[in-house]
């Protein structure tokens, strides 16, 4: 059975790759999206055959709730509001990776697994809050302008230092859950801080970047729970997301590092 599941994952990875390829050309894009969706279906059905699963009620409940919300949101959203909807969906994906990383902790983990857990929490958490801010800015529930304040670079540098410190302590002392909570809190905070200094016009680039991050978060979660398809599909999205971000930056005459590090000062020149 396990072999069957692994081969099904190979099939779904192939469908993802084919789907992405077809998404890149106008004539085949819609079919490409369909192929990728079939790949997802194959992967989920295969995962449900896992012998570690003894009860299905929580899985079914989660899928029903999530599916209903997803269908409603996708159907009701106005055509003009689609980019922020993508940001919101992306944020949920990041949060899911955070939760998967966290849940993987309970199994008792090696140092390598701990590092991947901390990465999935970190990237997933900042993807979540970053996407929420991007959603807020695009839908104009919060101001769409760049938020800059004195000492921003210092604050951001301190958060990064805090994240590195608590992540290292978490890996050394995984039984002390205080470090876990600090990593979660700081990663959520960092997502906010990373996106608020970026102005409205740059938002599509930021969403593309956050999309890349959510792929990397899924990839890290895949390492944490030892799942090949998470690693393959996650890194595929991570890599294609970052290159797409680069292309979009070029089209807007901006440099990637400018958008990436605007909270650290380099974006100030452009935001005027």
């Amino acid at each position: 059975m396990d072999n069957l599941i692994q081969f099904a994952y190979v099939v779904s990875a192939a469908l993802f790759i084919l789907g992405l390829k077809k998404l890149g050309s106008p004539a085949t894009a819609r079919r490409g999206n369909m192929i990728s969706a079939i790949g997802m279906l194959v992967a989920v059905v295969a995962a449900l055959l896992d012998q570690g699963i003894v009860e299905y009620q929580w899985i079914v409940a989660g899928i029903l709730v999530g599916g209903a919300v997803g269908v409603a949101a996708a159907r009701l959203v106005k055509m003009t509001s689609m980019p922020e909807m993508v940001a919101l969906f992306n944020g949920f994906g990041g949060m899911a990776s955070l939760l998967v990383g966290w849940a993987a902790l309970s199994g008792g983990a090696s140092t390598f697994t701990l590092v991947t857990i901390v990465l999935s929490i970190l990237i997933g958490g900042m993807t979540f809050t970053g996407s929420l801010i991007a959603y807020g800015k695009l839908s104009e529930t919060i101001g769409s302008g760049a938020v800059l304040f004195p000492g921003q670079q210092v604050v951001n540098s301190l958060i990064v230092a805090g994240i590195v410190g608590s992540a290292v302590m978490f890996c050394i002392e995984p039984s002390n859950h205080l470090w876990l909570y600090i990593v979660v809190a700081l990663s959520l905070w960092f997502g906010i801080m990373a996106v608020i200094p970026i102005g409205g016009a740059d938002m599509p680039v930021v969403i593309s970047l956050l999309n890349s991050y959510s792929g990397l978060a899924a990839c890290a979660a895949g390492f944490a729970v030892n799942n090949n398809i998470l690693i393959v599909a996650g890194s595929l999205v991570g890599a294609s997301g970052i290159i797409l971000t680069q292309i979009m930056c070029k089209a807007m005459n901006r440099s990637l590092s400018n958008v990436l590090f605007s909270g650290f000062g380099s974006g100030k020149v452009e935001t005027a």
Partner: protein, 93 residues
């Protein structure tokens, strides 16, 4: 050993991701981003096995929450992408 094997997979799919996205027309940037975003909901596959352990512990609840959130990402992502692309087709013809 497993770590090395998995990192090997990671390296190959990163190169593949780069290759796939080159030379995409600008009109397809947003649908492509949205389509890739739906794929990142693959976390669902990892969440499913955590939500079904049958032990009513924290990991189980976290897994169930992850299933719900990842499903929103997957279902919503594919549907929104399809709506965008359907609009393209009408414009073109």
């Amino acid at each position: 050993m497993i770590a090395a094997f998995l990192t090997f997979i990671l390296m190959l799919s990163i190169f593949l991701g780069f290759e796939l996205i080159n030379k995409v027309p600008a009109t397809l940037h947003t649908p492509l981003m949205s389509g890739a975003n739906a794929i990142s909901g693959i976390t669902l596959v990892g969440a499913v096995s955590l939500a079904g352990t049958g032990q009513q512990d924290l990991a189980n609840w976290l897994g169930a929450g992850a299933v719900a959130l990842a499903t929103i990402n997957v279902v919503g992502g594919y549907l929104v992408t399809d709506r965008m692309l359907a609009m393209f087709k009408k414009k073109g013809s």
